[in-house]
């Protein structure tokens, strides 16, 4: 997995962003957050904290009140941010892996040679070279996840957002996803409950609870604050309990 | 109900294909127009088609070892409207023929005609008619859905029987009562499933249900306000319609074997060459039906009313349980 996808990282600025679902439930409440180009951020928090909603807004699939810019531009659907959904079956809607990865570039009306090059490049980045003719249905969970990431990478996003990328994966599959996310040269936003895996990728942790940013700081210092994590339904993970940074 | 190749005659196949193609063209046009209001129409039609296919695999018991399965035409009609519903059912039937070899390729038009065009169109007409007659609110709508889904199965079965009979493959007097008898019971399963499905959807996503369902027009708890006479008129009308449609043949079911002997005697007198004739309605079937139609009509109405009553009681049952679940 050496061939990295070329990318110019972009910064993300979110100011006073609120979002209500049609039934008036509030998902986000005046969220303000800015992410520097090339940064890797983990969004954590209990179920229903608004993490997925935030990613959908960043991807331009939902519209909230407030301002969101990626590289200074409002997120349109979508050239800047590539969102990898939690369930890869939602994202692999074509018959073969190749068609799925080519879907984005073809919609950008790129010439056939460029589409083929991007398919090869993205599949290589996701460690799926040789999977072109396989049908999505016959892939394992980990392979599906990587194929979904490849399909997003082929659109050449400047920000890669992943919603619960390690959920339902075995250790090998999860490690493969970690590697892909680490090698991506752009800005990365990951939502996860698995702080141990997130710590391998992200150097900053933002905790959301009931639509509000409750904490924001460097991953490693925040992992030591057991009281904070516990208050928001998170666990530091086993290795923190036995290592030197054990909270007193 | 999937007719294989070779069972229906050329003219029937051609007629079925023409009707199916026309309905498909119209519903494709309507679906395309719908994509403007509802951009997720294409994936929605697709997952609904996949849903119908998957739901058809959940067999339900009838009696003893026999089992039936969900058809889905009324359900998709209630959820997506007659046009998109017809499109979805057409795709399901086509997939079954092309990929799973369920139903013949030459009979594809005929099968689409029965299960998509008649299944969806018929259930839509019954549903809208009953919706006007029954009181507004959730239970009125669910009653309409239940009866329409029962009728959709029966209509599709009747069409299937008629096509086999017109083609000269099976005598009408035998195949129609057999098909209707079996499907009158399978239809109850269909009605139960469709009603439970719709009440689950109303509980979880009332925004999906079409506006004409008028489920919010009356609070579900306000029982005293319901105009009872409307319900009675609706039920009676439906019973009459079904009786006219079903009873003359359905009531001849018990003595079906006698009929076979009788008609065999008839036809033995003069028959053409033993070839696959593109026969119109074989002449031995019609007289028997006409002679008995009047006398059996009354029995038919009673029988239909009984089924109607049973269906209504079951609907109430489903409704109440679903509400309890929703709470």
């Amino acid at each position: 997995m050496t061939s990295a996808v070329p990318v110019a990282p972009a910064g993300v600025r979110i100011r006073e962003l609120s979002f209500h679902y049609p039934d008036r439930t509030r998902a986000l409440d005046r969220v303000t957050l800015s992410i520097a180009p090339g940064e890797a951020v983990c969004l954590a928090g209990p179920n229903g904290a608004g993490k997925s909603t935030l990613l959908l807004i960043l991807a331009g699939l939902l519209r909230g009140e407030g301002s969101v810019t990626i590289d200074g531009i409002e997120p349109a659907v979508n050239r800047q941010l590539g969102l990898v959904f939690q369930d890869p079956d939602d994202q692999l809607f074509c018959s073969t892996v190749e068609e799925d990865v080519a879907f984005g570039p073809l919609n950008q009306r790129l010439p056939a040679a460029e589409v083929a090059r991007r398919v090869g490049e993205s599949l290589a980045a996701a460690g799926l070279a040789g999977y072109e003719r396989r049908s999505a249905h016959h892939l394992s969970g980990g392979e599906k996840k990587r194929a979904a990431i490849a399909a997003v990478l082929a659109c050449h996003p400047t920000v890669l957002a992943l919603d619960e990328p390690w959920a339902n994966l075995d250790a090998r599959g999860a490690r493969a996803v970690t590697t892909i996310v680490r090698e991506f040269a752009g800005t990365r936003i990951v939502t996860s409950q698995d702080l141990v895996r997130a710590a391998d990728v992200c150097d900053r942790l933002v905790i959301l609870d009931r639509g509000v940013v409750v904490a924001d700081g460097p991953m490693h210092t925040m992992l030591e604050d057991a009281a904070l994590l516990d208050a928001h339904g998170l666990e530091p993970g086993r290795h923190c309990r036995c290592c030197r940074h054990r909270p007193q | 109900m999937h007719i294989p190749d070779g069972y229906v005659s050329g003219p029937v196949n051609v007629a079925g294909a023409v009707v199916a193609a026309a309905a498909l063209a119209a519903s494709t046009w309507r679906a395309k127009r719908e994509t403007r209001d509802r951009p997720q129409t294409v994936p929605l039609l697709a997952t609904t088609g996949a849903f119908v296919f998957a739901a058809q695999m959940l067999n339900f018991p009838i009696v003893g070892g026999a089992s039936g399965h969900f058809l889905g035409a009324a359900a998709v009609t209630a959820l997506l409207g007659p046009w998109c519903g017809c499109l979805v059912m057409t795709l399901v039937v086509a997939l079954q023929a092309l990929v799973f070899t369920d139903g013949g390729l030459t009979a594809l038009g005929t099968n689409v005609c029965n299960m998509a065009v008649i299944g969806c169109g018929g259930s839509y007409i019954v549903m809208r008619t009953l919706r006007m007659l029954l009181p507004p609110g959730r239970s009125g709508y669910l009653t309409a859905v239940a009866l329409a889904s029962w009728a959709s199965v029966l209509l599709a079965a009747a069409a299937c029987a008629a096509e086999l009979a017109v083609s000269g493959t099976s005598p009408l007097l035998l195949v129609l009562p057999a098909m209707l008898g079996a499907h009158a019971i399978i239809g109850i399963g269909e009605a139960l499933i469709t009603t439970a499905l719709l009440s689950a959807v109303i509980a979880a996503r009332p925004d999906i249900v079409p506006a004409w369902a008028a489920i919010d027009a009356l609070p579900t708890g306000a029982r005293g306000a319901r105009p009872v006479w409307k319900l009675a008129v609706g039920g009676l009308l439906l019973a009459l319609v079904l009786a006219a449609l079903v009873s003359p043949w359905a009531s001849s079911a018990p003595d079906g074997l006698e009929k076979v002997a009788e008609t065999a005697g008839f036809s033995a007198q003069g028959e053409g060459p033993p070839v696959w004739r593109l026969a119109p309605l074989p002449d031995y079937t019609v007289p028997g039906v006409e002679a008995e139609a009047v006398s059996t009509g009354l029995a038919g109405i009673i029988g239909t009313a009984a089924v109607f009553g049973l269906g209504f009681v079951l609907v109430k049952l489903v409704g109440r349980r679903a509400v309890r679940q929703g709470d």
Binding site: - | L24, V92, L105, T106, A268, P274, W276
Partner: protein
């Protein structure tokens, strides 16, 4: 699940599979139309059709037995819909057991006809399904002028078929695990609730899939990378098989 994964049984590089999917579709349709329109008394023609079908099956590298087994699935329908034909389709009669049972010759022929036709038709459809995965078939339909929205929906339906069939299986198992053993019709109610869950999930999946499509620039149709192209072998296959079928239908008795 065997029934749901029929493709790839044949060799993907076989002579039949190198044909354009449009050619395969046209050949199969031509075959079934000719078979269905043949009078049942022309036994020789039916033998020729069966021969042609086995030849194509061999050419596709598909085991003949698997085609046979799958097409035999139509036989129950014959018993249901046509088994009375020999008993009531007029004279001349064949008497069995000293006249206890009278069978008509024309009825017997008609019965034989529907059985042969349905088996051959199903055989051709099975061969098509075994050699042509649905995406190829969809590409053929698109190229033959079917509306884009229809072909796209068909392809997507096929894609999510497997996902939803598995979901339905999981729901059913969940019910069985809690002691659901349906015995009478009223218990279809529970199936109804499972079906309701299944629909809600499929509806929400449609919303997510649409989001995923839009996110990658969906503009109302699925773009295609590979175009189909007729080859010499397609022309040869069409030019040989279709006239052969016509000749068999016309002259062989």
């Amino acid at each position: 699940m065997d029934r749901f994964l029929p493709t790839h049984l044949g060799r993907l590089d076989s002579r039949v599979q190198r044909l354009d999917p449009r050619t395969r579709l046209i050949l199969v349709l031509g075959f079934v139309i000719v078979v269905v329109s043949t009078p049942p008394t022309r036994l020789a023609a039916f033998v020729a059709y069966a021969g042609l079908l086995s030849w194509a099956t061999a050419g596709a590298g598909v085991p003949v037995t698997s085609v046979l087994w799958r097409s035999a699935a139509v036989l129950p329908f014959s018993v249901l819909a046509a088994s009375w034909l020999p008993f009531m389709h007029g004279a001349p009669a064949v008497e069995l057991w000293g006249g206890a049972v009278r069978l008509s010759v024309s009825g017997l022929w008609l019965f034989a006809g529907v059985v042969m036709k349905s088996l051959l038709g199903a055989g051709a459809a099975v061969l098509l399904a075994l050699t042509t995965p649905l995406p190829q078939l969809a590409a053929a339909l698109r190229k033959l002028g079917a509306p884009v929205i229809l072909v796209d929906t068909l392809t997507l339906t096929y894609r999510y078929l497997f996902v939803l069939v598995e979901e339905a299986g999981r729901l059913r198992r969940a019910a069985a695990a809690r002691g659901y053993r349906p015995r009478w019709l009223g218990q279809a109610l529970l199936i109804g609730r499972l079906v309701g869950q299944l629909f809600l999930r499929s509806y929400e999946r449609a919303e997510r899939v649409h989001g995923a499509m839009v996110q990658r620039g969906y503009r109302g149709f699925m773009p295609t990378a590979h175009e189909l192209a007729w080859g010499v072998s397609d022309v040869v296959a069409l030019a040989v098989v279709l006239p052969t079928l016509a000749a068999v239908r016309t002259w062989l008795r």
